[in-house]
Structure formats: structure tokens, C-alpha cells
Amino acid sequence: MNPNDPSPRPHRAYWRSNLRLIACLLSVWAAVAFGLSLLLAPWLNQWKIGNLPLGFWWAQQGSILVFVALVFLYAWRLDRLDRKFGVKE
């Protein structure tokens, strides 16, 4: 390993926090993609957002917006994590 790197210990904590964050965000991702937009869509269609059935809206609009938010959220949280554990570039 690079001799300038600190001991592997803090890296392990950094990696574990990273994994936890990824797991959180991917659960939201799966819930939106497979839950709201797919499994629950027929049921959600009984309500409307504007003039559009809700399940249809999630499948063709809402899910995409959530994905964008998830990726930006990850970039922002990881910037903080990099600083906290001193592994910034």
C-alpha cells in the first residue's frame, strides 16, 4: 500500500459507512423502481395526481426524479464522509 496512506483501520470505518449509505439509497431505489412503479402501480392508479393516475405518474415521471435526487444525495454525503475520515483527494 502507498506508504503515505494512514493505517488501514480508519479506511475500514470509512468503507463501512459508505456501505451503509449505499444500502440505504439502494433500498429507496428498489422501492421506487419495483414497488411504487411496478407492484403497487395497479393499486395506486385509483388515486390521481392532477389528471394522471398516480401509479402511472410514478412509473413515467416520479421514479426518474427520485433517481436524480439519489445520485446527487450520494455525491453530497460522500463529500462529507471523505472529509470526516480524511481520505479526501
Partner: protein, 620 residues
């Protein structure tokens, strides 16, 4: 004067309008092409790092725009809205699949591959698994995936040119090839990146303007996403669909089963994250941090088109049904044999009733019938076109899904310059993706295979020369596919996704997240995943791919369609890789250190100091 006589007079007059549109299209296409050439000239490179990864010098936002253009292909621009238009709710699988994949890419792959930092996906696979065999398998699948994909792009270029400039498809493809050749050969990744940034601008404007115009026309809201949600088109379309005997547009699973939809969704997402030409874009950012942010920008830029497309799909279907249903047949000519299949189709001149009760000719229908992408057939001979549900699609019309986007400005009677803009946008989408794919093909052959195995000590100048030569070869091969296309755009693209899902995604993911995964596991996993997926797709699509009389096998795997089988291939790859890795010896210490080092951002600016190339073995 009878209505028919009046109409014939108007048809003769309208020829001048077509000339005007063609002149404008020619102008727009020429201007955009000149800009691409200029950028290509400005960003020519002299060293391989510039040629393969743009010298790691692309800012996050610019890389986001380039990734969006790289990613949004002729299929996204030309075919996707059409597909959704025909599938209704179920079209969401493409929207969710092709955007949801970016979440996987941003969280699981992009930052780590950027930290690794060296040129290609096969480079990563080869070094992570310390294996030449793994590198070769990865290089060959990268070439194969990219070749299948690039064929669709060239076909897209051909469609646009033949429809809008009325030249032969092969001539259009040759023009496209020359343009790509110029900036890709001179500037490599750097030239491609900066042209893609501009191409993103062209394609998004070209997509948004007609959609905004139609949204304002139909709903009174200029933002299509708002018009779709708050306007009443969805209700009216559902009612119209019902009258014509189709399932409601907003009803889920009208065309496919739930399991099939879930599998296609998963395969598209994982395939997106595993496409080599998308992954390599993240090697070009200056830092790991920039790679993460640039994934966000990329998805934002993509979402702009992907939330607009379903609005366009809905509006276009409504417009199309409303215009054509009940249209009166003014005149039927016997048309010339169509270049595609040689069949001489009858040319129908149609007219629609206006609000004032007069009859207006539907000019675009004539133009599109000449391309063979739309056909009419007055089955019951009542002098009207009826758009009721027939055995396959509509009873009295056959409409190719690819024309929805291209014909939209004409159907909605937008001015000629919008039509010209759409043509330029379609070309930008196809060319930007083609360029990215061609670079992957070239780098796989030149860098991963030729330089690595045959000419290891090549000086910088020869490395660059081989890269450039390979791009040229790839362009010629892609052009051949464009002139003799192996299938229609979206279908071929689905094939590339299945293969990317079944090969790259699991191997890269486990390579980063599981230290224990070793060479034996990765090779076995890739081979099993690729073999299963390609046999299934080729077998169930034999009729379309090889021209067999019927498919060699039915969709025997739980009825999953070929587009979704990549999901099963991917899971198989995971299981095989994991299991084989655990019954064989762990990877060497140097590989473990490589994994530890790519997990943290620090040190991305230096070459990886701890990895010893001599650890790579030739696998017996």
C-alpha cells in the same frame, strides 16, 4: 368545386413547402456538422492518455453532458417515445430501466473505476483478476456489445437522412461516417467528449421544442411534464382507446406479464450500468469526487429528455389517433416499389375534417407512406380510415414505431424549421453515441489486445497510431451495419444490454465489493453469463436475427422475453462467480491491496504505486 378537387389542388401547392423544409434541414445539418468538425480540429491530441481518457481533464458538468449524449442514442431519441406510445403504461420499463441504471452506476461502479483510472474496462478486469484470460474475455465482450449497439446508431443516421434529405440511406451513412471519422481519429476521447457536449445541446433542444409546442397546443401548459400531469389528454386518450377497442393507455401490464416486466426492468438497469462506453466516460474526470458529481449531472441531463419523452408519447398517440381515425380517402395511387422490401404499396391521399366542417389534406401521411414506415389499407372499403384495434395493431393502418418522434412536428403542423431541428437532433443523438462506441471498440482492439499482447514495447507514437487506425476500421464496420442493418433499432440495442448485464456488471461489482472474488470465479461467471444470455436471445430471436422460418426455441425460462433474460444471466454470473471464487484459492496479496486502494478516493492523481504487473499470470 368538389372537396376532392379542391384537395388535389392543395396537394400540388404543398410541394413548395417540402422544398423549404428540405432546404432548412440541409442548412441545420450542415451548420451542426461544421461545428462538430471545428471542435474535432481544436481538440486533436498527441498522446495516448488524451486519446483514451481525454487526459483526465473533463470537468464534472461537461462530463455529465457528454455522458448524456453518449448514452442517449438514436434509440432514445427516435424510438423510445414511439415505443412508449405503443405500449402505454408498460413503456415505463424503458424509462425506469435506462435511468435507474445510473443509480447503480453512480453508487457502485463509477467512483471506483475512476480511482483505478487506467483507460478501459478490460484493463480493470485484467488487473483486478490478475489474469490475461479475463482481459481477453472482457475485451471481446466489449467489442461485441459495442458492435451490436453501434449498428443501431448507423441505422438511425440512415433513417434521418433518407427521410429528411431524401437521399439514399447508404449515402447518409457515408456522410455520418466521414464526420465521426474526422473528430474521433484526430481527437480520440478528447474530441469525442467536447463534440458530445455540443451534441447534447443540439439533441435536447431538438427534443424539447416540438414537445413544448404540442404540449401548449393540447393542454395549454408549455412545460410538457406539467401538461402531461395537469392536462386532460390522459383522460381523453383513455376514452379514445376504449372506443377503438384498445386497453386504457394508463393501465399497467396491458402488453406483458409482471414477472417479464420486472426482469426487463432489471436487465435494462444492470445493462446500463455495465455498458463499457458509458463506464469509460467516468475515467475522464479529474478526480473520484468529480466522477460522483458528474454521474448526478449526467442523470439530470438524461432525465430532462426521459421525463419529456413520455409526455411526447402520450400527446403523439392522441394526435395520431385523432387525426387518422375517420380520415377520408381522397385518392389512391399505386406507389413505387419500396426500397426496403420491394412491395409496391398503394399510396393513400387522406383528408381530415376541421372544426369548421371543411376537409384538409393530411400531407405528412403521403410523405411517410413513401418511406414505407406507414401504410394504409381500407379493409372494409368504406372510403374512410378506421383506427380500431385489429389482429396486429390497427385494423386499417400499419405504423412503424420509429416514426413517432420524426413525424410529430408534421402531425402537429409545426413550422418547417422545427422539423429541420428534429432532423439535426436525431443525427446528433446517433453520432454522439456512435463516436463513444467506436472509441470502445478501438481501445479494446488497439490497447487491450494489440498493444498489450503483441506490441508491448510500442513507443507512444505507435500506440496512438494503432488507436487511430482501429477507430477507422471500426467506423467502416459500423457503416456496413448501417447500410445492411441486422434488425430494427430498439431490438438490437436490447441485445447489447442483455450481454452487458450478464458479463461486466457482476464482475466489476464483485471486483470492488468482494475482496475474495478471484480469477477463476470471474472467468467462469462471465462465460456462463454470456453463453446463457446469448444462446437464449439468439434462439428465441432466430427468425429475426438469422432469417430462420421460426424461432429455434420458445421463451422457455418462465416466459421471460429476450429483452429481460439479461437479468437471469446477471444473477447466474453472480452465483457462479461467488461460488467458484470460494472453492478456489484467494487472489494474491497485490490484488487485495489494489482493491483496498480503489475503495478510497485519496491518491487518485498518482498512478497506482502498489500494483505489480508481473503478478499477472497467463492462466497456464
Amino acid at each position: 368545386m368538389t372537396p376532392t378537387g379542391l384537395l388535389e389542388g392543395m396537394l400540388a401547392e404543398s410541394a413548395g413547402d417540402g422544398e423549404w423544409t428540405r432546404a432548412l434541414t440541409f442548412l441545420f445539418v450542415t451548420i451542426t456538422f461544421m461545428v462538430y468538425l471545428y471542435i474535432g480540429w481544436r481538440s486533436r491530441v498527441r498522446e495516448t492518455q488524451g486519446f483514451y481518457v481525454a487526459g483526465h481533464g473533463v470537468p464534472a458538468v461537461a462530463n455529465g453532458a457528454a455522458t448524456a449524449a453518449d448514452w442517449m442514442s438514436a434509440a432514445s431519441f427516435l424510438s423510445m417515445a414511439g415505443l412508449i406510445s405503443f405500449m402505454g403504461f408498460d413503456g415505463a420499463i424503458y424509462l425506469i430501466g435506462w435511468t435507474g441504471g445510473y443509480v447503480l452506476l453512480a453508487l457502485l461502479l463509477a467512483p471506483y473505476l475512476r480511482k483505478f483510472g487506467k483507460y478501459t474496462v478490460p484493463d480493470f478486469v485484467g488487473e483486478r483478476y490478475a489474469s490475461e484470460t479475463a482481459r481477453i474475455v472482457a475485451a471481446i465482450s466489449a467489442i461485441f456489445v459495442s458492435l451490436t449497439y453501434v449498428a443501431g446508431q448507423m441505422r438511425g443516421v440512415g433513417i434521418v437522412f433518407s427521410r429528411f434529405l431524401e437521399i439514399e440511406i447508404w449515402q447518409g451513412v457515408v456522410v455520418g461516417m466521414l464526420i465521426v471519422a474526422f473528430f474521433a481519429v484526430l481527437g480520440g476521447m478528447k474530441g469525442i467528449t467536447w463534440t458530445q457536449v455540443v451534441q447534447y445541446g443540439v439533441l435536447i433542444v431538438a427534443f424539447l421544442i416540438p414537445t413544448i409546442a404540442i404540449s401548449s397546443q393540447l393542454t395549454g401548459f408549455s412545460v410538457p411534464q406539467v401538461g402531461m400531469t395537469a392536462g386532460d389528454v390522459a383522460e381523453k386518450l383513455d376514452a379514445l382507446q376504449h372506443d377503438l377497442g384498445f386497453p386504457a393507455y394508463t393501465r399497467p401490464f396491458a402488453t406483458k406479464s409482471l414477472l417479464d416486466v420486472a426482469c426487463i426492468l432489471f436487465a435494462l438497469m444492470v445493462g446500463t450500468a455495465g455498458l463499457p462506453h458509458v463506464i469509460v466516460r467516468f475515467y475522464t474526470t479529474p478526480s473520484v469526487r468529480a466522477a460522483r458529481w458528474s454521474a448526478g449531472w449526467a442523470l439530470l441531463f438524461i432525465a430532462l429528455l426521459y421525463t419529456t419523452a413520455p409526455a411526447l408519447a402520450m400527446f403523439a398517440r392522441y394526435n395520431l389517433l385523432r387525426t387518422l381515425h375517420g380520415a377520408r380517402i381522397v385518392k389512391v395511387e399505386s406507389g413505387e416499389p419500396h426500397a426496403g422490401d420491394g412491395k409496391a404499396a398503394a399510396l393513400y391521399h387522406l383528408a381530415q375534417e376541421t372544426a369548421e366542417g371543411t376537409w384538409e389534406p393530411i400531407e405528412w401521411a403521403v410523405g411517410w407512406q413513401r418511406t414505407g414506415l406507414i401504410r394504409f389499407h381500407d379493409e372494409n372499403g368504406n372510403g374512410r380510415i378506421e383506427m380500431d384495434r385489429g389482429e396486429q395493431g390497427f385494423r386499417e393502418a400499419t405504423i412503424d414505431r420509429d416514426i413517432i418522434v420524426l413525424s410529430t412536428p408534421e402531425v402537429a403542423r409545426l413550422s418547417p424549421w422545427v422539423i429541420a431541428l428534429v432532423a439535426a437532433g436525431g443525427l446528433a443523438a446517433a453520432l454522439s453515441t456512435a463516436a463513444g462506441l467506436l472509441l470502445v471498440i478501438s481501445s479494446s482492439i488497439a490497447h487491450d489486445l494489440y498493444i498489450h499482447f503483441i506490441d508491448r514495447d510500442a513507443p507512444e507514437s505507435r500506440r496512438l497510431f494503432v488507436g487511430r487506425a482501429m477507430i477507422l476500421v471500426a467506423i467502416v464496420v459500423a457503416g456496413y451495419f448501417g447500410i445492411r442493418p441486422p434488425g430494427f433499432v430498439a431490438q438490437v440495442v436490447a441485445f447489447a444490454f442483455g450481454l452487458a448485464a450478464a458479463s461486466f456488471f457482476p464482475v466489476i461489482l464483485l471486483g470492488v465489493f468482494d475482496r475474495r472474488t478471484n480469477r477463476q470465479g470471474a472467468i467462469a461467471g462471465m462465460i456462463v453469463g454470456l453463453a446463457f444470455t446469448s444462446v437464449y436471445i439468439l434462439g428465441t430471436r432466430a427468425d429475426k436475427i438469422f432469417g430462420a422460418d421460426e424461432p429455434w426455441m420458445t421463451a422457455w425460462c418462465f416466459g421471460i422475453s429476450p429483452e429481460g433474460i439479461g437479468a437471469v444471466g446477471c444473477l447466474l454470473n453472480f452465483v457462479v462467480t461467488w461460488t467458484v471464487s470460494r472453492v478456489t484459492p484467494p487472489p494474491p496479496e497485490s490484488v487485495m491491496k489494489l482493491v483496498d486502494s480503489i475503495r478510497v478516493p485519496r491518491g487518485s492523481h498518482e498512478p497506482l504505486p502498489h500494483f505489480d504487473e508481473s503478478d499477472i499470470v497467463a492462466d497456464g
